[in-house]
C-alpha cells in the first residue's frame, strides 16, 4: 500500500489541516458531559449497571438511522488500537485503560465521538480542523438534543447538568482550540500570553492534555469554568481570545522576519534539512523541527512542502501510529528509525 493510502486510511478529518485560520489554529473541539438519571456514576457503578447504561445509549443511537455512528467496545479492542484512538484525540487516555463496558461511538470521518462510561456516563465530542468553534458547538448541541429526546439526563434547575466532577457541572461544556504559536514562543512572549489568558477564565495545556508540556509550540486553550455562563458566551469568549492570539502571533511573525530574518530563515531551513536526512529521530525532536517547517511554510520561506504536514505528522509519528503503519510492534530505537523514514517519505510527497 502506498504511503498516501496509508495516511488516508489513518486520516481523521481534523488532521487534514484544513479549515479557517489553519496557519495558526490546528483544531477546534467541544465536549459535553452528560449523565443518566438513577444510575451511579461510572467510577461507582458495577459491571451490570455499566452494561445497562451502555446498552441504553447504544440501543437508542443504533435505532436512530440518521445518526450514522458506529459503536466500538473498548474491551474488544487490542491495546495498540486503543492507543491509536488516543493519539487521534478521539478518546481520553483514561478511556483507553483496560476496563469493562467502556465504549465509543464514531462517525465515518471521526469528527464526532461519544464516549460511554468514561468519567461520566456520556461524553459527546465534536472535533474539526481550523477555527470552527461555533460550528462544533452547534453540532454537539444538536447531538445532545437528539440524545435528550429519549434519554433522561440528570439535570438540576440550580446547577444544570450534573457531572461526576464538580468542575464540569452546569453546562458540562469544555471548548478548546489547538494553536501553533512558534513566533510568540521565539520572541519570549508566550509567558505573558499565558498569564493574560488564565485571568480570563481560560486554561492552557500542552498538546497531550492535562499536565503536559508544550511540544512543538502547540498549545490547547480551553474554558475553565462550566457553571454560571451560557454555552454561547463560553464559546464567544474563547473565540474572541483565540482571534486576539492569532493577531498577536501574526504580528510576532512579522517582527521576527524584520528583526531576525537571517537567523529565523537559517533555523527553518536547517530544520527541514535535519528532517530530510536524519536516520533516526525522537518524537520530541521531530515535533520541534516540524513546528519550524510549518512556520517556514506559513511565512513563505519554504514553498515546496505541503502545508498539511504538521497536522498530519503530529498524529502519524506517535508510537501507536508508527507501529500500525509498519504493521508490527517496534522497539523504541526501531520506532525512531521508522519515524525518520515516514517523515522523509511524507516531505517528498
Amino acid at each position: 500500500m502506498s504511503l498516501r493510502n496509508q495516511i488516508n486510511k489513518n486520516l481523521t478529518h481534523w488532521i487534514s489541516g484544513d479549515g479557517p485560520e489553519n496557519d495558526i489554529v490546528l483544531s477546534s473541539r467541544v465536549r459535553l458531559a452528560r449523565n443518566l438519571e438513577n444510575y451511579p456514576y461510572p467510577s461507582l457503578a458495577d459491571d451490570e449497571e455499566r452494561k445497562s447504561i451502555s446498552d441504553k445509549v447504544r440501543d437508542f443511537i443504533l435505532e436512530e438511522n440518521n445518526m450514522n455512528l458506529h459503536f466500538i467496545n473498548m474491551y474488544d479492542l487490542p491495546e495498540l488500537e486503543r492507543e491509536l484512538l488516543v493519539e487521534k484525540h478521539l478518546i481520553s487516555p483514561i478511556h483507553a485503560k483496560p476496563g469493562r463496558e467502556k465504549g465509543v461511538f464514531l462517525n465515518d470521518n471521526e469528527t464526532i465521538s461519544i464516549m460511554i462510561n468514561e468519567e461520566d456516563h456520556i461524553r459527546i465530542q465534536v472535533l474539526n480542523p481550523g477555527l470552527q468553534l461555533i460550528n462544533v458547538w452547534e453540532t454537539a448541541d444538536q447531538l445532545d438534543d437528539k440524545l435528550e429526546g429519549k434519554l433522561d439526563f440528570a439535570f438540576s434547575e440550580k446547577w444544570g447538568y450534573l457531572s461526576t466532577c464538580p468542575t464540569n457541572v452546569g453546562t458540562g461544556l469544555r471548548a478548546s482550540v489547538m494553536v501553533h504559536l512558534p513566533a510568540l514562543n521565539f520572541t519570549n512572549n508566550i509567558g505573558k500570553m499565558l498569564g493574560a489568558v488564565s485571568q480570563l477564565g481560560l486554561a492552557i495545556r500542552g498538546l497531550y492534555g492535562e499536565g503536559s508540556e508544550s511540544v512543538g509550540n502547540i498549545y490547547q486553550i480551553s474554558n475553565q469554568l462550566t457553571l454560571g455562563h451560557a454555552e454561547t458566551d463560553i464559546i464567544d469568549n474563547l473565540s474572541s481570545v483565540t482571534r486576539q492570539i492569532i493577531e498577536q502571533e501574526k504580528n510576532a511573525r512579522e517582527r521576527l522576519l524584520e528583526e531576525q530574518g537571517v537567523r529565523v530563515k537559517d533555523s527553518i531551513k536547517r530544520s527541514l534539512g535535519t528532517l530530510k536526512y536524519a536516520y533516526q529521530i525522537s518524537s520530541d525532536e521531530a515535533m520541534k523541527l516540524l513546528s519550524n517547517v510549518k512556520l517556514g511554510i506559513d511565512m513563505g520561506i519554504i514553498d515546496n512542502v505541503d502545508n498539511k504536514v504538521l497536522s498530519e505528522l503530529l498524529v502519524l509519528i506517535r508510537p501507536a501510529h508508527i507501529q500500525k503503519i509498519n504493521g508490527k510492534e517496534l522497539g523504541a530505537v526501531e520506532r525512531d528509525i521508522k519515524r525518520a523514514e515516514l517523515i522523509q517519505a511524507r516531505l517528498n510527497m
Binding site: 467510577s43 461507582l44 448541541d141 438534543d145 435528550e148 447538568y161 461526576t164 464538580p166 468542575t167
Partner: protein, 180 residues
C-alpha cells in the same frame, strides 16, 4: 459547654473561621481538635489539580464544615468525607445530599453557583418558563421607563398567564406548552 463534634467531652478549644466576611465559631474538646489536626495534606505534589480541588472541597482542618461530615447520600452510599477525599461524586443524588455544603464549594470553583446555560427540552421542568418570565419582567420595566403603559400591561398579562401555567400545570406539561 460540650464539644460540638463528639457531644460528650467538655469543649476546651474554640475555633473561629471567617469566610467571605461570614464568621463561623465552633467549640471542641481537645481530642476532637487533635484528631482533626492530624489530617494530612496527602499526595506527593500538593499542587496537583486533584489535590488543589480537594483543598477547595475540604478547605482546611480548622473549618467549621469539617466537623459536620456525617452527610451521606442515601442513593449510592457515598459520604461527604469520601467525596471530599476523591473530589468526585458517586451519583446525581449526591448533589442533593450534600446540597448545603456544595453552594460555597461551587462558588469557589466557578465563581458562580447558578446554572445559566442550556435547559433540556423534555426534562428541564419549569426552568424554561421561569427564564421566559424573567426576560418578560425586564421588557416590562423597559416599557414602563418609556412610559409605554399599554405595552407594559400587555406584558404583565403574559407574565401572569405563564405564572399560572407553572402553578397549575405539571412540570413536563408546562415545558411543552411554552415550546409551542
Amino acid at each position: 459547654m460540650k464539644c460540638q463534634r463528639c457531644n460528650e467531652k467538655e469543649a476546651s478549644v474554640h475555633l473561629t473561621k471567617i469566610v467571605n466576611g461570614e464568621k463561623n465559631e465552633i467549640y471542641l474538646c481537645e481530642e476532637c481538635a487533635r484528631e482533626a489536626g492530624q489530617l494530612p495534606f496527602d499526595g506527593n505534589n500538593p499542587f496537583a489539580f486533584q489535590n488543589l480541588l480537594k483543598g477547595l472541597i475540604n478547605p482546611d482542618v480548622n473549618s467549621y464544615e469539617h466537623f459536620q461530615q456525617v452527610d451521606k447520600c442515601e442513593s449510592c452510599g457515598m459520604t461527604y468525607n469520601e467525596f471530599s477525599r476523591n473530589g468526585l461524586f458517586g451519583c446525581s443524588e449526591c448533589y442533593n445530599a450534600f446540597s448545603n455544603k456544595l453552594e460555597p464549594i461551587l462558588k469557589r470553583i466557578h465563581g458562580n453557583n447558578r446554572h445559566n446555560g442550556k435547559v433540556p427540552k423534555r426534562r428541564g421542568g419549569t426552568l424554561r418558563v421561569k427564564r421566559e418570565i424573567e426576560e418578560l419582567r425586564l421588557d416590562m420595566q423597559k416599557a414602563i421607563n418609556k412610559e409605554d403603559f399599554e405595552k407594559a400591561a400587555e406584558i404583565r398579562d403574559k407574565i401572569k398567564k405563564l405564572e399560572n401555567e407553572i402553578s397549575t400545570g405539571g412540570e413536563g406539561n408546562v415545558t411543552e406548552k411554552s415550546d409551542k
